[in-house]
Symmetry: C2
Subunit: 77 residues, 2 copies
């Protein structure tokens, strides 16, 4: 199984969800990308269907939006 | 580690999220409760902080609301 990708923006909701998911999935199974800091990754996340962060993109490409920290649109500004 | 609990109500969004989470976490690590069918479990889910389904309650008690299928309030009717 390839890795899941966890997109976040450093918000408190994001950090909490990140800790939970890393505990559940194992850190070796999740790539973590901060699209608040890496603005060039915003379009990558959008292309995968991410509408808000935190979000987990599964190895089969499904997007799980987890709780709600910020919308992708907000991060563009 | 004790099990996570996945609360759902049989909605398409719920079924999709259930399949993803079972794949990611392993079915042996998740208890699955349909609070659409088991109305008595609604108050249990609410007590754990679940506001909408699908949602995953982690072994440490954190609630991850995943995508959005239905609110707990809607399920009471």
């Amino acid at each position: 199984m390839s890795k899941s990708i966890f997109y976040h923006a450093g918000c408190p909701v994001c950090v909490s969800a990140e800790q939970d998911l890393v505990n559940l999935l194992g850190s070796e199974n999740v790539s973590i990308i901060n699209i608040g800091q890496n603005k060039e990754s915003i379009s990558e996340a959008e292309g995968r269907g991410v509408q808000s962060v935190p979000a987990l993109v599964t190895p089969n490409g499904n997007v799980l939006h987890i709780n709600y920290g910020a919308s992708i649109e907000d991060l563009k500004n």
